[in-house]
């Protein structure tokens, strides 16, 4: 090949070669990069305990690097004992109220449609406990994992759990309230990770 000697031809040749090489190079780089995800978990109820642990454990199974930043009520998901997590019908009108036992036609009834408005249910003493009990039974009946199980599977798969130290102080918790293997840090630790992540979710 005759190498061009003038500046303009040289630039044109370089541009042409870059266009030829770059797409493949980018593909190689993307293929060799381990995908990563960061999640902010802010809710401390039984229903909202599922999304962060399901997505984190699944992403880890796909080979991704995952970290979850637990802040505000999300810290409840890290407590040693999560058996007291509840689901509330208050302000939660999307939650179907179905019985987890009996024949299929009975299980299919959404009692919200017949029973009473959400605001009245929520004010009944013990209604939250009943709703939680029904939800737990439904979870069991459907072969859905418990929160303890999904949390343990996430930890086994090296999902990083980061507890918000500010919230620990704010709510008067101690590190002893929580399971082992948690890093305690603040927003400045989370943000650089989120910046590098391919997926970043707020829950």
């Amino acid at each position: 090949m005759n190498m061009p000697t003038d500046q303009a031809s040289l630039d044109a040749l370089i541009r042409q070669r870059i266009d030829e090489i770059l797409p493949q190079k980018i593909e190689e780089l993307q293929a060799s990069k381990t995908p990563s995800m960061t999640i902010i978990a802010t809710k401390g109820t039984l229903d909202w305990a599922y999304p962060p642990f399901i997505l984190a454990s699944t992403a880890a199974a796909l080979g991704w690097n995952v970290s979850i930043f637990f802040t505000f009520y999300g810290l409840n998901l890290l407590k040693k004992d999560v058996s007291d997590l509840k689901v509330s019908p208050l302000g939660n009108p999307g939650m179907p109220m179905k019985m987890p036992f009996g024949p299929d036609w009975f299980k299919g009834i959404d009692w919200n449609k017949f029973l009473m408005p959400n605001i009245i249910q929520s004010n009944l003493p013990g209604f939250e406990s009943v709703a939680t009990m029904l939800m737990k039974q439904t979870i069991k009946n459907n072969g859905v994992a418990s929160i303890e199980e999904l949390r343990a599977l996430s930890q086994e798969a090296d999902v990083r759990f980061i507890g918000c130290q500010m919230t620990v102080d704010l709510f008067g918790f101690t590190h002893d309230d929580f399971i082992d293997g948690i890093e305690y840090a603040g927003a400045a630790t989370f943000l650089p990770q989120a910046q590098q992540a391919d997926v970043s979710l707020f829950m």
Binding site: G63, A145, A157
Partner: protein
């Protein structure tokens, strides 16, 4: 089809079949085949996506009534 290991994920729901499969594959040697039985209808798409992302080969998917059968070859 021949297989080296079997995973019974019947009755388990998302994401447990995938998590158990990942664990089973991790204990196997490259080229070995894992047979998975599941009842979660979502697992059909999920195992295809799992195989594509992890590089383990999904050799076959079969539906037998309400049961699903997958063969995955370890990368």
């Amino acid at each position: 089809m021949n297989f080296d290991k079997e995973l019974d994920a019947k009755g388990l729901n998302c994401p447990l079949p995938i998590l158990r499969a990942k664990k089973a594959l991790a204990e196997m040697a490259s080229g070995q085949v894992l047979r998975i039985l599941a009842t979660d209808p979502g697992s059909v798409k999920d195992f295809a996506a799992f195989a594509k992302q992890t590089g383990n080969e999904l050799l076959s998917t079969a539906e037998k009534g309400k049961e699903f059968e997958f063969y995955i070859k370890r990368k």
